[in-house]
Amino acid sequence: MSATDVHRAPALSPEGATVERHWRDLAARRRLYTIGGLVFLLLALSSSLWFANETNAGKFFDRLPHVADFFAELKPRDWLDPVRALFDLPSPYDDGSLKFDYPEGRVYLTQGIYIPEYFHRMIETLNIALFSTLVGSTFGFLLCFLAAGNITASRWLRFATRRFLEIVRAFPEIVIAGFFLAIFSLGPIPAILAVSIHTVGALGKMFFEVVENADMKPEEGLRAVGANWVERVWFGIVPQVLPNFMSYFLLRFEINVRASTILGAVGAGGIGETLRLSIGRGHEAKTIAIVFLLFCTIVAVDQFSAWLRHRLVGRQAFAYGRGE
């Protein structure tokens, strides 16, 4: 670099030198910001790590062998045992304890045909997610038009709807679930309500943003022939936003499957609860079976939803993320 500088220096006019100096100043400042930012990040990270380690129940390096032990303990007696646990088949190790009582949880449809316990739990969790996405999106659908600036002229109605959606979205699901748990006692209903309410807020926001970006020409045409508000929305706006709505619906469904699993783990039923109990009691074959089932379900749901979204809206709204 210095050789080039020496070579180039005499060629610079006074204006050129000013520009050159200014550029150097800017580059130096930029470097300073970058280094400062990195130092700040490093300090924040190390103090955070120290704090987390101090306030944890066990220290990181003391507990690290336990983590390894825990994963080692997950090894079942033989690798067919998780399969037996998954399909509720009797285990050769059955000693009457909870650890190997695989056939216990069978849900009989008829005399001979049963759904294995974990599949039934998984269906319960999926139903919680799908039903609350359905309820949430129905209300989100109804509310989003009231929040959209291009459809609803009344500023107050718009303001009220948007604030309502924001408040509903801001509450963590766990708070809503805990409140309804106090009223309904344990079970999936509090989870459904919590996820639905949160979904109303989250989807309502996505929906009204889609509506605000809609093409207004069909709506104008309908207005010109004297259609009322409902007709204008139903025939002018809904057909063009429906694919995007469906895409967001599917995305929300993915998120809600995870959310309802977590809510299950704190007492709202479904596979989450089963998993927590099984890990807590150290049932290795059951844990592996549940984790495998959950993993496959999540992959399947994600893949299906991605495929369907791709078909519905193509690359355009191929959004990805877990959201809040």
Partner: protein, 515 residues
């Protein structure tokens, strides 16, 4: 418009008039399916039975508890006098004497039996004996602990409460040992009390008083601000007050119950209450260790949640960064390396955050280490996937340019690739930082540290709804602050991208879309 014209239009737009069967019936079919599914779910979750069993009265009371609290004087009938107690953890501190409970004192004669005497027994259940042993109470000066218990029945003369008047919102209850007058608005009902046997109203009961059987307990409602139960041996009144009681200092603090100016001057310039430290230090310690609100613990747990989200996201970004280069088709030519890394990302992402959280809680013990590891493992996968997608979308011209002047492969990445993707990477990390602040609250409830567990425990006990609301407000505040910081930084980053290349802005993977 006549039939010909319509036919003409129909001929010109066949797709609008003769739509396929699928197009025509898709919408009603979808709606029908949704309705059927709703019925199925109602059956699957037995919604009807659950709604029937639901305790809706509790809902109102719990919601009211978020922003208000109740004081419960408990007025017990004796032969010719009354005793007034407050619940053990009364918000009024030891020795409560609120001005809405008026007492009429008189000197009376009463028989004192051999132990346990009624007076001592009552006193034990009241808060006085726990909070301030040895302090004689206003209601029962003679019954102070420490007084020798008489061994044989005898008659003593002493001052005692002979009538009490409790004001509850728009109503009042006047109580004497055998007569209770309940007034709400301009209606009033007089109850005759036969001690330990019956409660009898003299007039028919209005709608706001309920007595399930003649002679049994009467339930009196004064609206939001109060309720009462008239029993055959005592009257229990609940008066509701708006606000959070004892939010700053609890009843054990020397600063409790003082007006702000007095407490402030005591802290700034008063004589030392505790000789070993200044008043300010004592006040701060009292605030942190407030027994009812547990500020110190709540703030510590909140900080843990913030730290969990921050460390988890930063570490995940750091690990995902090199792996993303390995996973990107256009950066690493090896198909095997691409696929292995990508499947690894998918695996981490699809093992739900809950599973990681449960695993690490088991391993590290409850605390933020478990939560941050869970976030780290999940988000390494998520961020890795997003990063590699961003890398695969880069503009190839810059790389070619750098390569053409003879740069080493590392230099090509540094000057040809990194400037394009770095803002995108940062923006996505910021978005996940924001989103993880929310997730960290939720996974905390399964034991992975932070405020989640504390919040969940407070909710499950059903008594501390004001504390729940306090924690929820803190969480909302933190989420709001981090949302704003993150979206401010992201807007600045997007700005740099937009200035450089419009097309690339459009290609940003819209992770941030589903906020």
């Amino acid at each position: 418009m006549n039939a010909d014209a319509i036919d003409d239009i129909a001929a010109r737009h066949p797709d609008a008039f003769r739509r396929s069967l699928w197009k025509r019936y898709a919408t009603p079919l979808g709606v029908l399916l949704c309705i059927l599914y709703t019925f199925y779910c109602a059956w699957f979750f037995s919604v009807g039975a659950v709604l029937e069993k639901a305790n809706w009265n509790l809902a109102g009371a719990y919601l009211a508890d978020w922003v208000s609290y109740e004081i419960r004087p408990d007025i017990e009938f004796k032969d010719n006098y009354l005793t007034i107690d407050y619940s053990r953890f009364s918000k009024l501190g030891s020795n409560p004497d609120p001005d809405w409970v008026t007492k009429q004192m008189a000197v009376i004669e009463r028989r004192v039996d051999a132990a346990p005497t009624p007076a001592i027994a009552t006193n034990k259940s009241s808060q006085d004996s726990f909070m301030a042993p040895g302090a004689p109470t206003a209601e029962n000066p003679a019954a102070a602990p420490g007084q020798p218990v008489p061994a044989a029945p005898e008659t003593v003369r002493e001052k005692a409460v002979v009538a009490a008047d409790v004001v509850l919102g728009n109503g009042r209850i006047a109580i004497t040992p055998n007569l209770v007058t309940v007034t709400r608005g301009d209606e009033s009902v007089i109850f005759d009390i036969a001690r330990d046997s019956s409660v009898t109203p003299r007039t028919p009961l209005p709608a706001w008083i309920e007595q399930r059987r003649p002679g049994s307990t009467a339930y009196v409602s004064f609206g939001f601000l109060g309720r009462a139960e008239v029993q055959d041996d005592e009257v229990i009144a609940w008066r509701r007050f708006f606000g959070w009681a004892n939010f700053v200092f609890d009843t054990n603090s020397p600063f409790w119950g003082k007006p702000i100016s007095e407490a402030a001057s005591l802290i700034v310039s008063g004589a030392r209450i505790d000789s070993s430290r200044s008043n300010a230090a004592l006040a701060w310690d009292n605030v942190l260790n407030n027994a009812e609100w547990q500020h110190g613990d709540v703030w510590l747990k909140l900080l843990q949640t913030i730290v969990m989200a921050f460390v988890g996201t930063v570490l995940a970004s750091i690990v995902a960064f090199p792996l993303a280069f390995l996973a990107a088709r256009n950066v690493t030519p090896s198909r095997i390396a691409n696929q292995v890394t990508k499947r690894f990302f998918d695996f981490q992402r699809s093992v739900d955050m809950l599973i990681w959280a449960l695993f690490f809680t088991r391993g590290f013990g409850p605390g933020p280490l478990a939560g941050m590891s869970a976030i780290f493992f999940t988000d390494t996968g998520t961020l890795g996937k997003l990063y590699s997608e961003a890398l695969e979308n880069i503009d190839d011209k810059q790389r070619e340019g750098i390569r053409s002047v003879g740069a080493t492969p590392a230099m090509v990445q540094r000057y040809g690739v990194l400037p394009q993707v770095l803002p995108v990477f940062l923006s996505q990390s910021l978005y996940f930082w924001e989103s993880n602040t929310r997730s960290a609250t939720i996974i905390g409830a399964v034991g992975a540290g932070g405020i989640g567990l504390k919040l969940w425990e407070a909710m499950r006990t059903n008594t501390n709804w004001a504390n729940v609301f306090y924690m929820v407000l803190l969480i909302l505040l933190v989420v709001f602050i981090f949302d704003n910081i993150s979206s401010y930084l992201r807007r600045k980053l997007m700005g740099t991208i937009a200035n450089g290349n419009d097309e690339r802005r459009a290609r940003l993977p819209p992770a941030a879309q589903i906020a």
